[in-house]
């Protein structure tokens, strides 16, 4: 058994190295190597899943410094298994899809090696027994996203986007780092299960617990793109679309929710869940409203990711592990589907990302339109797609929890129903609204059935089929039954609003595009559009703060001190000692070498005088 677990952890990294080294030989090799490795990984996880009885635990001591030992254990339970299935399963489909999507790319070896490394980071993260191992995986993902987002590093925009991804998430990471230090200092353990147990039995100081829960949540905010650390998520769209699918569906952004879910008992005991819910509700609203007006299809999906991850956080924050985790799982699948569908469109449309330039692709890309449509229905929360069940559960949990009832539940509800608006808008603009650029339209060819449509189809079927297994999913993750509570008005209300929004989208984006232009020409609408389009100017504000305050004022101030005080002080001492030296009348020469000698001697004399007077 343990050999399968070890293989799971090591193979991605070995695969990355092998792919990189061997892949330099031939352009075809990297894909097949990476493909084989990801199939093996997926089969390995499926095998572990099928034989699962109780958590696999491997204890291992990483290293020992002084008397302290830092552990690096493996712990794979049901929660990890679900995440592993997502990471390796969607990762496999993603690599499958890359065959055509990255065909033109010269540097195949680098691409596939980094993809495997990315998947490996996620596997490490979800298999870690201690927070330390989790942190290692956490940082690996930060690195992998940095390297992959700036994959086309020779262009300015992707290179900048990589920097943003790294630094935004790193800002969160230092809080996780600090939390690890504090936990190690106060509790002497980093084992997550032990920490949960200690927290649940009130053996940790409540203030400490609260602080640490907040610190870890800040790290999760960074990784999962929550308010206000989300701008990197949108900038990340500069990377290849397959990478976006991997970041948004299979791996990286899920890790923030995973860590809160993993430490759920700790969060419950720390009373910090309400903070999680509040921040997430704000993010859900910001994300959903911003997604409404984006013109790049990938940015719509990026904001929608932000919004839907927030829904998962809200589920956790409202105290329902089941709602949060099932939404995470369902979201991972339909979001990967949506991203890859968008990728298929981008591929055939010669890297046109602006959906206002496309349109009427439904006939040419029938399968893509069909599968993407299924993904959007799931995103919007229509039964019987899986997205419906978990989104409903999240909203229900906020309504039934008296702490989150009110502002948080309202924001959640708004964010929840807006999905159909931006999702539907995306779909209508791409597939049914009239074509805008004939030349572009005519050059579009139907993509490959096997390499492009197949993975989309698999995911579309999954997102539909998973809807029928929600009970099983919940009982697998939480070992309990789903909540029995129901609110009678919720379902008809949701359906009514969704249908209404769907009608609005159909009306404005298909039927009466002229009306839309008139409405959006209004000054007020223009202002709102600008605010939403720029994601509430959060990125501008952060950028201003970093560029002007940190890089401008603070560093200039420190540099001023360095040049004018610290360095001048040194010269001042030299000058002073030279004067003292002259005072003794030892030199009247102005020769440089004499001056230098004088300086040295002067300092020595000064020090000696001091000493003689004080001590001898």
């Amino acid at each position: 058994m343990s050999s399968f677990v070890l293989a799971l952890l090591l193979l991605p990294f070995i695969g990355a190295i092998v792919t990189f080294v061997v892949g330099k030989l031939n352009k075809k090799i990297p894909f097949f190597l990476a493909y084989i490795f990801s199939i093996v990984l997926f089969v390995d996880v499926v095998y572990l899943f099928s034989v699962y009885e109780q958590p696999f635990v491997i204890d291992y001591e990483w290293f020992r410094f002084g008397e302290n030992a830092l552990p690096f254990g493996i712990y794979i339970d049901k929660l990890s298994l679900i995440m592993l299935l997502i990471a390796t399963g969607l990762g496999l489909l993603d690599i499958h899809f890359s065959h055509d999507y990255m065909k033109e790319e010269k540097d195949q070896a680098r691409y596939y090696a980094k993809m495997l490394f990315f998947i490996g980071g996620m596997i490490l993260l979800v298999s870690a027994k201690e927070l330390l191992g989790l942190f290692v995986g956490w940082e690996f993902m930060g690195l992998a996203s940095y390297l992959l987002i700036s994959f086309w590093h020779y262009n300015k925009a992707p290179a900048d986007a990589g920097v943003a991804a790294f630094l935004y998430t790193k800002f969160g990471d230092i809080f996780l780092f600090a939390a690890i230090g504090l936990l190690f200092y106060f509790t002497k353990t980093l084992d997550i299960a032990t920490l949960n147990h200690l927290a649940a039995t009130n053996q940790i100081d409540s203030t400490l617990m609260y602080v640490i829960a907040i610190f870890i949540f800040i790290a999760a905010i960074g990784k999962s793109g929550q308010f206000p650390l989300f701008p990197w998520l949108m900038r990340a769209m500069e990377g290849p679309t397959t990478v976006s699918a991997l970041i948004h569906g299979a791996t990286m952004v899920n890790s923030g929710i995973y860590i809160v879910a993993r430490m759920f008992d700790f969060y419950v005991a720390s009373q910090a869940l309400i903070v999680v819910a509040a921040v997430a509700a704000l993010s859900a609203f910001v994300g959903a409203t911003s997604a409404l007006v984006q013109s790049e299809m990938k940015k719509v999906l990026a904001y929608s990711t932000m919004s839907h991850l927030s829904l998962a956080f809200i589920g956790l924050g409202a105290g329902s592990l089941a709602a949060g985790m099932t939404h995470l799982v369902n979201h991972a699948i339909f979001k990967a589907l949506l991203f890859l569908s968008a990728g298929a469109v981008i591929l055939v449309a010669h890297h046109t990302k602006d959906m206002w330039k496309l349109g009427a692709l439904g006939k040419k890309l029938f399968l893509v339109a069909l599968f993407m449509g299924m993904g959007i229905l799931s995103l919007s929360g229509l039964p019987p797609f899986s997205g419906f069940y978990s989104k409903d559960a999240v909203i229900l949990s906020t309504l039934t929890n008296p702490q989150t009832f009110g502002l948080i539940s309202s924001l959640t509800l708004i964010a929840g129903v807006l999905s159909i608006a931006y999702g539907g808008r995306l779909w209508v603009l791409l597939f049914v609204s009239p074509q805008k650029d004939e030349k572009l339209h005519n050059s579009i060819k139907t993509p490959s059935l096997f390499w492009i449509a197949l993975p989309l189809g698999v995911m579309a079927v999954l997102t539909l089929a998973l809807g029928f297994f929600q009970e099983e999913l919940i009982s697998f993750i939480t070992s309990t039954k789903g909540s029995e509570e129901h609110i009678g008005w919720l379902f008809p209300f949701m359906m009514g609003v969704i249908v209404f929004f769907a009608f609005l989208v159909w009306f404005f984006y298909y039927k009466r595009l002229d009306l839309l232009q008139k409405v959006s020409a209004q000054p007020l609408m223009k202002t709102i559009h600008q605010i939403l389009f720029h994601g509430y100017y959060v990125e501008r504000m952060i950028e201003w703060f970093v560029q002007t305050i940190i890089l401008g004022v603070v560093t200039s101030f420190v540099a001023f001190i360095e040049k004018n005080i610290i360095d001048k002080a040194v010269n001042g001492v030299v000058w002073l000692s030279y004067k003292v030296f002259l005072l003794f009348g030892l030199s009247k020469s102005s020769q440089v070498s004499n001056q230098v000698g004088g300086m040295v001697l002067g300092v020595v004399v000064l020090v000696f005088v001091m000493l003689v007077r004080n001590f001898i």
């Binding site: 020992r64 410094f65 302290n68 940082e139 690195l143 020779y154 890089l551």
Partner: protein, 477 residues
């Protein structure tokens, strides 16, 4: 073989080497061969260390009246430093392989090796001081002759600054002699000093300059900028480590009571260096100055580790010292290489080098990731162990030093963006980034070490943990 030859043979023969190989390229082969021999020799010495950790190598040149005996004795700490030094000397020689032709350069390296071995091996304060000063002479010439445009100023500043600092050390040593009538380190440790506080402060300032710690660091950016790349490695990897070694040896282990009393000074200087130099590195657009400030920042981290005065913290500090040597060396070497090819230090003139020189750029990225403390590099291990030990000694409030990691990420990632990634600049387009395989080999060794010891740090900690277990570090804080 008499071990005293390890010190004096290079000192004497460097002169002969210069005279006899003036016109032939033989010098570098001889020096390289000697350094390899030196590495093997120190490895043997390390393996010979007895259980208690002390290996007496003999006493020489006795002038009893003045307590002037060259006592050579090594313990685990000094033997680890010797190993690191001799390894770095090999790699420094290799990295100068094609860029330096003159035998004087290699003769000075040889001279330096003798002096530095003297520093690490002698336990007599007077001789320690002599060797300590002797290291300055080759460094002065190495910076002053083979440096950049402002090399004379930089070399002089470096020389004077550290030389004046040495005066503090000398004074402290005289005071010790006045009170104990001996220069022998082990005897001093047992005796009661009358004014230990003054001695502690003098030693602290003297060694803080060498390390360097805020606010005594201003000589370092200048010296680094003007020195050629391999000499920068020597400065950062060996000379700074010499300061850190002396800090541990004298300020902490020789005067444990005072160290406990004033550890907060060391901690403060360390934290200030970490953050202040980090911010300076953010500010710099001069590639090599950025690396130099990042070096100071990391030495601040080392000082924090030392200031814990605990078995864990000192082990962590020693690990970080070694890690810093391996990480900063490729950064300096590659920065120097970029400058050599493009004739520019300014980051805005560079950019997009990844497209021209992917492997060297990848190594630069790797070393940069080590510097910002990414897991699976030596930088992370040093960072987290020092962080945990600092919390252990000083409590939860020091957790804010985690911000140092944010600053570190900032300057490294922005530097990578400006130098390695992005569109190619005019200068980069015009330059040819070919590198000789010898130099690439030296770089690759650093790269492999950064990852290997980062993934499996136990290999180093096996040795490091033993270093401080031999010492009595005094009571708890």
């Amino acid at each position: 073989m008499s071990y005293v030859a390890l010190i004096f043979a290079p000192l004497v023969f460097s002169g002969f080497l210069y005279l006899f190989t003036k016109k032939s390229p033989l010098a570098k082969y001889i020096v390289l061969g000697y350094f390899v021999f030196l590495f093997v020799e120190t490895l043997f010495l390390y393996l010979q260390l007895p259980q208690n950790g002390y290996l007496m190598l003999g006493k020489f040149l006795e002038v009893k009246e003045f307590g002037f005996i060259l006592t050579l004795e090594i313990d685990r700490l000094s033997s680890v430093m010797l190993l690191l030094t001799s390894l770095l000397l090999i790699l420094v020689t290799l990295s100068s392989w094609s860029m330096q032709k003159e035998s004087a350069y290699f003769s000075l390296l040889l001279f330096f090796s003798g002096a530095i071995f003297g520093v690490f091996m002698s336990t007599n304060l007077m001789w320690f001081f002599i060797f300590w000063e002797l290291t300055l002479i080759p460094m002065y010439f190495l910076v002053g002759i083979w440096g950049g445009d402002g090399r004379v100023y930089a070399a002089l500043k470096f020389f004077l600054y550290t030389h004046v600092a040495s005066m503090f050390i000398l004074l402290a040593f005289f005071l010790i002699f006045k009170q104990t009538a001996t220069f022998d380190m082990t005897q001093i440790q047992e005796s009661m000093l009358v004014t230990p506080t003054l001695i502690w402060w003098l030693l602290f300032v003297g060694f803080a300059v060498k390390m360097p710690l805020f606010p005594f660091h201003t000589w370092l950016p200048d010296a680094h900028v003007e020195a050629s790349a391999p000499i920068s490695v020597l400065l950062a990897g060996v000379l700074l480590k010499m300061g850190a070694y002396a800090m541990i040896r004298f300020v902490i282990l020789m005067l444990p009571q005072e160290a406990h009393k004033y550890a907060f000074v060391l901690l403060g200087a360390g934290i200030l260096s970490l953050l202040y130099a980090g911010v300076m590195a953010l500010y710099e657009t001069h590639l090599k100055k950025m690396v130099a400030y990042s070096s100071i920042s990391h030495m601040g981290l080392v000082a924090i580790g030392m200031a814990t005065l605990s078995y864990e913290g000192l082990s962590a500090a020693l690990f970080e010292m070694i890690g810093h040597a391996f990480i900063i060396a490729p950064l300096f070497l590659i920065a120097g290489f970029f400058h050599y090819k493009t004739q520019s230090w300014q980051m805005q003139d560079l950019g997009g080098i990844m497209q021209k020189a992917p492997y060297i750029s990848a190594l630069f990225v790797l070393a940069g990731l080590g510097a910002l403390g990414l897991p699976a590099t030596m930088g992370f291990v040093g960072e987290i162990t020092i962080f945990l030990s600092a919390l252990d000694t000083y409590g939860a409030w020091v957790a804010f030093i985690a911000f140092g990691a944010m600053i570190g990420s900032g300057y490294i990632i922005w530097t990578l963006r400006r130098v390695i990634y992005g569109p190619m600049s005019q200068k980069v387009q015009e330059s040819n980034f070919s590198i000789s395989w010898v130099e690439f080999f030296a770089l690759a060794v650093f790269g492999i070490a950064i990852v290997a010891f980062g993934v499996y740090p136990q290999a180093l900690f096996d040795a490091i943990n033993e270093v401080f277990s031999a010492y009595n570090l005094g009571g708890a804080m």
